[in-house]
Symmetry: C2
């Protein structure tokens, strides 16, 4: 167990030295908040992982360069409604110009300002709205609940804002990690390592070098955001950015017990948000954990897990409260993973449904209690080695189709 | 152009020397026809391609061995409603016993009888129903429209039966090819080479060796059934079996003009059926052809095509008449294909939507006529080489979710 304490109603602004705000700039026709700002009192060490999609959006290209060139960030602005993806040189200019506008408004070097966008692909970013967003956001930066306002402003098809924060003690000092994320569809992040239209910002007052933070962020992304799938589609805009201002006085050095504790706490924050993204997946009614154990290699475990987690037939069966394990074994079978089907067992929760590749004989009624739960686990034991993997998936409902057939309107 | 003539209302029984029937044996609760039989007057040369799913159903394992050991078939029985997959040794026995029962009823060697099953995975095959099916089917074998009755009896979630036949002239003789298929979901065949819960039976009166027929069937499966996707799920039961009785008198030798003409005609039959499977895809309202051209390698072209063809976000957008090209480029981008996004063009029908990686500026209204068509093509020009690939895909609708959330009831 991590020695962490969750902060009630926590967010990025639970972290000393960070302010944030969320306002309506006019990117969304609905009039809902659509522009967020995060500002640290001083330049922070930082790290970022981004989509591996070849069509990376302009802000992704911009931030990636910024972070690798400077290793410092002091602020971020995020708009929702327009992704600034596939917008060519004009889109790149808009990303750069946005950071300049924010830098000027905050009186800081624009090279310390990250920019993120999420929303419809292919539309140019209206700079007048960015300007209005900055103006309004700066005015409300002193809102004590700004972190939650920011979390609300970055939502697209999300139904609830997703923010969290926790504390832990390191070197006799209180260290805080706060974060927010958005993302409900186009979720199958493969960050580099990442993958979803997910945006996640993490703030901490730990003292940690950019390179160590980068290392932890990449490793933890593999065990959080890269373990979730809603629709198997990866986005052009996936971004996870972390900023550390060192204000707590605790200093995290590589290969120490403190580093281990801090990384575990960071993972707790990232998994909390990843899990809530799946729970809030577009039209989703269930969170299903897929576990594949005793595969011959980690790759076999992973591709078998991914096949089940992304199977449209499995996902619609879950929506229908159908304990249809045939679709699970079909997915394992076509995944490409090496294993002996005659040894394979499958469990819904603790209940065996397949033993040695065949029907375990469990009556369907006995499984209904499990598949009707809002959360359950499907465990596949391949009995063909010792490697394992897991993912969080969601079901696919009418509502998913509705949201995605109508999103453009 | 192939020198072929389509036969009106054609089916397997359009081919001289083949009889067929379709009856209700009781596998389906609905009372719809669910058992089909195909019988040739004499033993036929034959070929088969099957699912590459590791959990291959008992009848797939059985037929694969039968065809590779004997190279001869005279009959086939097919039941719909129960897949006889994941049924262990008992399922294998049931497959063998089914062929023995059919052989006895027809007075032929059981080793000449292929067996196929489609339907729910994990349920044992009731041999009493097989017995009843055989008894009823044998009685109606002289129905002149038996081929269409058989095509109807193998349907599961299909809404229409799918049979076809054509004639061509070879060596001054009339050669006929007739075929039937089923499959509307679990469609993403990767036959070995195949992949879908699709079953396809082809009959011809051409004279052709089993090995040449096998070669043509494999090659043609790559260009027909392996080019379609409904839900990206591959089945445990996918089967394509061809039988040739030689009755036309025309003899097809390898590497001749006649072989070329016959293979083209066979492809015409297989593509006709593959296309209709997508058109009848579960809940499908649209058939969308995805073309990727000018990719650096065939593999790049293929994975880029597959990513778009299987993207849930693209498929729901098509359902919603949404010319959302952002989802197309996102899929190309995450496909793993090598290409320069700044060179990429995308066309909906003939209309450019993306030019050099950015918005082509086409107003959405101009695209609506295209995306509202029941069939249209999305062409992606990567300008990064000279390789190309194409696939047929369908949209994903509310009805798809309904069918698959409720299929078990």
């Amino acid at each position: 167990m991590n020695n962490t304490r969750k902060i009630e109603n926590g967010s990025i602004t639970s972290v000393p030295g960070f302010r944030a705000s969320g306002v309506t700039a006019g990117f969304k026709r609905s009039g809902a908040p659509d522009f967020a700002m995060i500002v640290a009192d001083s330049p922070c060490n930082c790290a970022g992982v981004f989509t591996s999609c070849r069509f990376a959006a302009a802000p992704v290209v911009y931030d990636r360069e910024l972070i690798s060139a400077n290793g410092k960030l002091q602020a971020a602005i995020i708009n929702s409604g327009i992704a600034n993806a596939c917008t060519g040189a004009r889109g790149m200019d808009a990303a750069k110009r946005s950071s300049e506008l924010a830098g000027a408004a905050l009186g800081i070097d624009p090279k310390l300002v990250a920019v993120s966008s999420t929303g419809r692909i292919g539309t140019q970013l209206p700079l007048d709205l960015i300007e209005r967003g900055i103006e309004l956001a700066v005015k409300t930066l002193d809102d004590p609940d700004g972190g939650n306002a920011a979390a609300r402003a970055i939502m697209t098809t999300d139904t609830v804002p997703k923010a969290t924060a926790l504390e832990l003690e390191l070197q006799g000092r209180k260290v805080t990690i706060g974060a927010m994320t958005k993302g409900a569809g186009m979720i199958d992040p493969k960050l580099v390592g990442l993958h979803a239209t997910m945006l996640c910002y993490v703030a901490t007052d730990a003292g940690i070098s950019s390179s160590l933070l980068q290392e932890m962020l990449e490793k933890n992304a593999e065990d959080s955001f890269n373990r979730i799938t809603v629709d198997g589609d990866m986005s052009t805009n996936d971004t996870v950015i972390a900023m550390a201002n060192g204000k707590s006085g605790a200093v995290i050095e590589k290969d120490t017990k403190d580093a281990e504790a801090f990384q575990a706490a960071l993972l707790e924050v990232m998994q909390n948000l990843a899990r809530r993204m799946v729970g809030d997946g577009e039209g989703s009614t269930k969170l299903v954990t897929i576990e594949v154990v005793n595969a011959p290699t980690e790759k076999d475990a992973k591709i078998a897990t991914e096949a089940v987690a992304n199977s449209l037939l499995c996902k619609t069966a879950w929506f229908g409260n159908d304990p249809n394990w045939g679709r699970v074994v079909a997915a394992l079978g076509y995944s490409g993973a090496e294993f002996d089907p005659d040894k394979c067992d499958v469990f819904f929760g603790e209940i065996p449904v397949v033993l040695q590749g065949g029907d375990a004989g469990t009556p369907e009624e006995a499984l209904l209690d499990t598949v009707r739960q809002p959360e359950f686990t499907i465990r596949c034991d391949l009995h063909s080695g010792s490697c394992s993997y897991w993912m969080w998936s969601s079901d696919i409902s009418y509502e998913y189709v509705k949201i995605n057939a109508d999103y453009h309107t």
